[in-house]
Symmetry: C2
Subunit: 592 residues, 2 copies
């Protein structure tokens, strides 16, 4: 059986030592003092460890079942879902006007991370509802908000996102699902959607499908796509459930992982739907939620790596195998624990330095989202838009890579399902694919975000790095292993950015062929910046004699590892980028 | 449904254009002319595509079943196994004295690659038998050979390797299984072995377990381990099956992949066993087969990447999504095929350049094994021993990475089991773990192989690279994108080797902390050398106007991609290595 312990200490470090959130000017942050956030995190951590984590393997082994259109979730999911709902966790960062608790998105993210680590498949039922809630909140009419939001905040009703069709995923302009206007202002929706997470299940009284479809006669392609609300059960003006709508699951998919979440083929047969936002502006409505949704997936990436890492550490300390070459550490035992071996350390340090750096990066982004949403700060919005594809692409790629690394610590035992390590990897795998496959994230970064607003946001990012280095050039801790690698990596990333800007117009393939490497190089620089900032914050705490000395020292050491061992990847990515598109595009398709 | 087409053309290129095997002085190679090897490869390819590949998904979905000690393999496995046996494939490279066909190991490897690509779990039944055959062939008495080998060559009886126990894998010195000598010269074996692939099944009349155990009173630790033959059914002097031996499967494991192969817990309860080789010299006997067994696993790594790549190419050509930014390629269609997009190309080129480079590397090693075995060539033996951990560690790591990359091409469809892409990845995962986890390979490389015979073999390897560069410095094809990257990468690898040799004695942790990076850097240099050699051979064929022009040109372009896009990783690995052990070993175990 695998374990999960909520990393509340590390989260508290980020919220207070690093970000000093209770001193922030963002509305709603003032109340977030150490005690308050500690109370929330401790309680959420308990739920994660005691309620959700024990159901993780159950969900994987049982999966969901499908019979006559009815989907049953794994044993215990319904009870746990009710427990989460009733304790108010589902509305933590939702609008108080609709029953939410109004906490910042940052707090929602930190609790979300824990729930995802404990049980990713389970948490998706709530996560998707949150996404649908956000869409209706941003684009719905007052009536729509009043009708749907309170029940979705409480997860009495859950939500879904219906985008993909069998023949189109990324290229949604090819969509065939139709929405035919009716006299009463509603629409009749017909078509098939696939890969609909939580499309049908037994956890809630109603399911509110958000769905993209085309209104006949509208513009061709992506410009003719509109967003609709399609409830499983029709709802009357008093909020009572009425007749079953024509929205049915046709089957559930057998997947590599996240077995506890039902992935449905959804068939819409003249289902009643309601326009959400403006006609033909469905993609724009979707995009307003994109930063949040993609950050949510980024979180899944490192949250799986976190729980896999925790288990790998336990195993590395327990399993006795071989002897320390520099001298026995466990002379009474038949062998030393795995953790004495340098290559096991190397592996664990890779994981630890990734997970903690990733957490800082994700929380920084969540903080920017709060600043953007709560203060309408355009610069914060631009910056978080820029790094969103990096968060999603880099953290899920590396998150998966690190779950595999954690599984490796177990040797053969990690390949056996009983250990739980395979599930972490199989579950983490999907995060690289959905909410825009990582190649699409790289394209978004290089093709859209880099040049957005005249390249203003990427310049702001580089200025941030430069200013940090300048402000801290006398910091002795940072002088030792932080500033120099960060400076070099940032310089390489700037060189790569220039390469793209120069090639974008005349040789777009040169830019696109390097997009994936650029996303990874950018990710490393972001984590490098986070580590330098964390080391600075830890150094300050040490100087002030605050708290747990060993925690802060460990933080600095772990950062030094990341700078020494991971940042050299940036130069490699730059070399790959600068090799251009020639070797990438040279072959005829027939020669593959 | 996934497809598999045997890469016979590429294999023929390696055997003849690159290695010119029929002109080799290795005994048995003279008969391997183009027509002869073509006939074998075409026929094996047909078996792989038509008999084995269709059972791959069946094996994954059904898995093996266990009831009352009886293991049933998936539907169709028995019939296919009989077909393979009866056609003589199982004895292809076995000793004619025992019914084998006596072909070189190189040919066994090329056919093996195909069978593994088509159905890895299935092929393990035969592969493990081959391993056990080799052990008995090398260390058995004449009576043992006469009794067991003919039936194992034909796979009427299959074989297993029993090493791991619940508390010990890598550190076999901790072993508890006991072998008590009997008056008649046999032993009574008692203990439990785990992770025994093909430990029990319904494909063969008898199962010959090779097992490591300790004879009471022998030396402590690894020096007191002996190797035994323990048949499932006792065999009388005439080869008739007698009483059931006390060797029973206790259960089969639920695994991440290779479901079609039964992974058993084996319980030995006073089972009759026969000493194989000398008392207490069991590990030495095991090690004589290690190069072959590890090359077999290396082959699994890239063979899964090969079949995954083939399917990714089909999908990338079929799936219409988005438009080529440089101009529409499919104006009549609703969108262009995925393969027009630079990042899809980048991904496919990563896969293609890895798989073809890996194949060349593995076949080169197989060729060295033939030279070593058939000519008792010590230098060939030393060289293949040196690169064996690189083959096993690098090719299985990268093989898995590339199956994941292939799965990514499919987007959401790749996560659905129906596509078959998940199985390739789940199956490939085990190759990083068994036959010595890849961290142990890295340790073997740095701790044993690098300094072996005074560093003679690594110097021979560097001389090989240097000589190749010197001999071809005027080659125009190689001047363009091959020689310079190879020179630089080889130089970085030499610098790393020096770092290890300097640190090994006084600071062993510095060497060990960089072992994994060294293994990968070494792998890249090997593939770089292979690509330079292949480009040279392709250029020669083009100059001579031989065969398929487009094939040879594609080969050179693919090589250029590898040099430009993969070799920059070597400098990164060097930087990581040179950062030493300080950040790796700094934390107390309690601070992880």
């Amino acid at each position: 059986m695998s374990i999960y312990n909520a990393p509340t200490k590390d989260i508290q470090f980020l919220l207070h030592d690093l970000m000093n959130i209770s001193a922030s000017d963002i509305p709603g942050y003032a109340e977030l003092d150490r005690d308050f956030t500690s109370a929330i995190l401790e309680e959420a951590g308990k739920v994660a460890s005691e309620v959700l984590a024990p159901l993780n393997a159950v969900g994987d082994q049982e999966g969901c079942s499908f019979e006559n259109g009815v989907v049953r979730t794994p044993t215990g999911f319904k009870e746990a879902f009710d427990q989460i709902r009733e304790a108010g966790w589902t509305g933590l960062d939702c609008d108080p006007e609709y029953g939410g608790q109004g906490l910042p998105y940052l707090m929602g993210s930190s609790v979300g991370e824990m729930f995802v680590s404990a049980n990713m498949a389970f948490n998706m039922y709530q996560g998707l509802t949150h996404g649908a809630y956000s869409a209706i909140h941003a684009h719905g009419s007052d009536d729509q908000k009043a009708m749907f939001l309170p029940k979705m905040v409480s997860c009495d009703w859950t939500g879904t996102m219906n985008l993909t069709e069998p023949h189109c995923g990324t290229d949604l302009g090819l969509m065939r699902t139709k929405a035919v206007p009716q006299d009463d202002g509603s629409f009749k929706i017909s078509g098939q959607k696939i890969f609909i997470s939580a499309g049908e299940h037994d956890l809630a009284d109603n399911i509110i499908h958000l769905l993209l479809a085309k209104i006949p006669g509208g513009p061709d392609g992506i410009k003719g796509v509109s967003l609709f609300i399609v409830p499983k059960f029709n709802v009357d003006e008093d909020g009572n459930l009425g007749a079953r709508n024509g929205a049915f699951a046709g089957k559930i998919e057998e997947k590599m992982g996240i077995h506890g979440n039902s992935t449905c083929v959804m068939n819409y047969d003249e289902a009643t739907g309601y326009l959400l936002g403006e006609e033909h502006k469905g993609m724009r409505a979707m995009f307003t939620m994109m930063n949040e949704a993609r950050l949510g997936v980024a979180l899944q990436g490192f949250a799986q790596a976190e729980v896999a890492y925790q288990n790998a550490v336990v195993y590395a300390n327990d399993r006795l195998q071989g002897r320390d070459v520099t001298g026995t550490k466990n002379p009474e035992g038949p062998a030393d624990p795995l953790i004495v071996h340098p290559d096991i350390r190397r592996n664990l340090m890779d994981q630890k330095s990734f997970v903690e750096g990733a957490r800082a990066f994700a929380y920084w982004a969540a903080n920017l989202i709060d600043r953007s949403n709560r203060m309408d700060d355009k610069e914060a919005h631009g910056l978080v838009s820029l790094v969103t594809p990096v968060l999603k692409g880099f953290l899920t790629d590396k998150g998966f890579e690190n779950t595999i690394a954690a599984q490796q610590i177990y040797g053969g035992h990690g390949y056996i399902e009983e250990s739980g390590m395979s599930q972490f990897a199989r579950d983490a795998r999907i995060a690289m694919i959905y909410e825009g496959a990582n190649g699409v994230q790289a394209l978004d970064l290089v093709g859209r975000k880099l040049g957005q607003d005249g390249g203003k946001h990427v310049m702001a990012f580089f200025a941030l790095v430069k200013d940090f280095i300048k402000e801290n050039e006398k910091d002795e801790i940072l002088q030792n292993g932080f500033l120099e690698p960060l400076k070099n990596a940032s310089k390489d990333l700037q060189t790569a950015s220039m390469y793209f800007l120069e090639n974008a117009a005349k040789k777009p393939n040169n830019a696109l062929a390097g997009s994936y490497d650029f996303m990874h190089a950018f990710g490393h620089v972001c984590l490098g910046l986070m580590w330098a900032q964390m080391a600075q914050a830890a150094g300050k705490a040490l100087a002030n004699g605050n708290g747990d000395k060993s925690f802060y020292e460990t933080k600095i050491t772990t950062g030094r590892y990341y700078m020494a061992r991971q940042l050299p990847a940036v130069a490699m990515h730059l070399a790959r980028i600068q090799s251009g598109a020639d070797t990438v595009m040279a072959l005829d398709a027939a020669n593959f």
